[in-house]
Amino acid sequence: MKLRLTLFLLLIAGAIYGQQVPFERILNANKEPQNWLTYGGTLFNQRYSLLTQITTDNVKNLELQWVLQVRAMDGITKFEATPIVVDGIMYVVKPPVPNYEVVALDAATGRIFWTYTYNPGEARTCCGRNSKGVAIQGDRLYLATIDAHLIAIDTKTGREVWNNKVESPATGTPIDYSFTLMPLVVKDKVILGPAGGEYGVRGYIAAFDAKTGNEKWRFHVIPEPGEPGHETWGGDSWVHGGGSIWTPGSYDPELNLTYWGTGNAGPDWNGDPRPGDNLYTCSVVALDADTGKVRWHYQFSPHDEFDYDSTQVPVLADIEWQGRPRKVMMWANRNGVFYVLDRATGEFLLGKPFVKVTWMNGFDAKGKPIRAVQTSSSGVLVYPGNQGGTNWYNPAFNPRTGLFYIPTWEDTSSTFTKREQEFKAGTVFGGGGPTIPVGLTPLNTFTRTEDEGYYGSIKAVDPRTGDIKWMYKMAQVTDSGVLTTATNLVFAGGREGYFFALDARDGKLLWKSMLGGQVANGPITYAVNGTQYVSAAAGNGLFTFALR
């Protein structure tokens, strides 16, 4: 009762002071499915919607309502942003080519209310000038930029409230640290971390006061001397150890833990100069949301030499596990293995490949993978390839079907070749390289058949067993996220340019639309005035559909 009263008063306070989205609304986002308040819909990042207007029966009647165009992009930047929708207003950021444009628009018509523009300074990004979206809390949006600024923007006017340069570690050069993620808001803090794993950065996760932008805590992904985990780095290799952050974390309010996936160790493809497991790269870390202290960690790919970033979104759920309820975390990793962990303790519960995997051969008693191949200067063929069995593209979990949906790259391999390389600030610190038969840059046409390897799919995995329940096969690979709904729908897309709906129970194709460019964000759904909408970005546009 006391909790309810407190919540009521907080909501009232929010209304009085014009706070559009007090944290309590984000905390209870599943109670207002007409809105999309975080990267994955809620703080559990399931990308699961309780909206029921669009069903398996009528999804074939979806038709285009409006399109948001962005400036024509360069060859590698993609429209990766997940929009936020609050009470009929959509907030979305266009990729900085060359400027960021954060827009507030009418989510029913696509008409723009205001635009905030920011021209980032010099930035070095490995894989495009990407942004995964803006976060919201109170009456502010939070934009993390490729020149390592955190910017607060007024939700009502688009006015810049503050714009702070975030301090980078004194390794590499400052422009090596870029923010491409949507920040995560937890209580009164905005949490983020930098990309830059190919440039010898030293990753971190940092929390900032949502009101002032002042830094409140910082967790070093690469521990310095005296910190636990530092012993997993030989010599001075920790200084350029990598461990970048590309995607937002999740949050469990009962445990007060925030969970984050971390990127590859540096140099990427030669582990010789960094003997040891190289904590906390290629890991998930559970941090106290108030202090940033690490409570537990699990390393998916110890001493990684295959660029298997664990920069996926942690998906949280309370499911029945071996006959009793358990608070778990589900994770389809770039290394090709699907994991279930106990999110209170970090205990390893299950690990099972969801694509062809040759880099490891099972787990030891503690759940540590047993490495099966060694790299060499003459090259070694490894499955999955450098781009992984999946990547940063968000998966989805549907509590109704009990299935976990993964966008996958099937039957991929790379030949990894290592070489000695001195660190030089401002250049790629790779230590070799992989072959990448299918590039990072999406192509408009494809001449490889799926019989020749390298095709895409959406896979449904039963988290209780790791078994694959169904697979929807695409001719080409995909960088699309997945959305699922309470009406047994799965929405996704791919590089071919199709945006489609599947039956969440058996993977049957129910509807598709050719959008003319690759789908590279996570689709969302929301409702305005009783109409349910579905939005996906493809190529240079954000496309929004509703039933006709």
Binding site: G432, P434, M474, A475
Partner: protein, 265 residues
Amino acid sequence: MLTTILTFTLLLAQHAFTPDEIAEGGRFYQSNCASCHGSAGDQVPGVALMSGKFRRASTDDDVARIIRNGIPGTAMQSFTFSEQQAGTIVAYLRSISGSATPPPDMPQLGDAARGKAIFEGKGQCLTCHRVGENGSRVGPDLTSIGAPRPPLVFFGPPPPAPTPAAIVQQLRQSLLEPDAEVTPANRTFRAVLKDGSSVTGRLLNLDTFAVQLFDSRERLITIPRTDLREFTAVKSPMPSYRDKLSAQEMSDLLAYLMSLKGQVK
């Protein structure tokens, strides 16, 4: 290749770039420029970026400036590279064109003019191939077949671009054994439809729902997968010239093909 790059690097008086920097320039190029210019720099008509010659620039700084500022009134947009980054792209382009200097292992080739006559006459190459505005579109366009084509690379050091000697070797192999190595974009497929009809052509595009072919009558054709009974790669329609040309004729023809670098008027 490394030796070539190092030698070339030393020759660059105004800007010296290390192999790693040149490799990064290659990655910048392939991820930002190749979508318009092509991986070999020859997709924009009249522009051959890897020939070492630039129409609107005479110095490396000029080229870097164009990369950063674009060319107003043309499709060449500006890019947000730093001066250093733009410099690495220029160094990469120079490193490729630098490798066009005939190395010692380059075989002695015949006469290109005689080779052109064979190409257009006895060899009947224009029946399937095109050079500039002449010939058929059915086979691969050979307008820039003699230019080095660096492999697509996104991370790490790029594999060596093929040397002229290697290109000659590849061309010779294609003439003698046309099926030995066919790039994915040039493969011929046969589609047998459920009604028993069939279409054979070059595979232009393939997705989950359809295949798209360019057939021998120069038609652009889409076939829904639901209409397909079979879809298989078939032998290249290109004949072998093993017993059709003398050694001298082969040498002349190779000389002509090696002269085709995307600058045909």
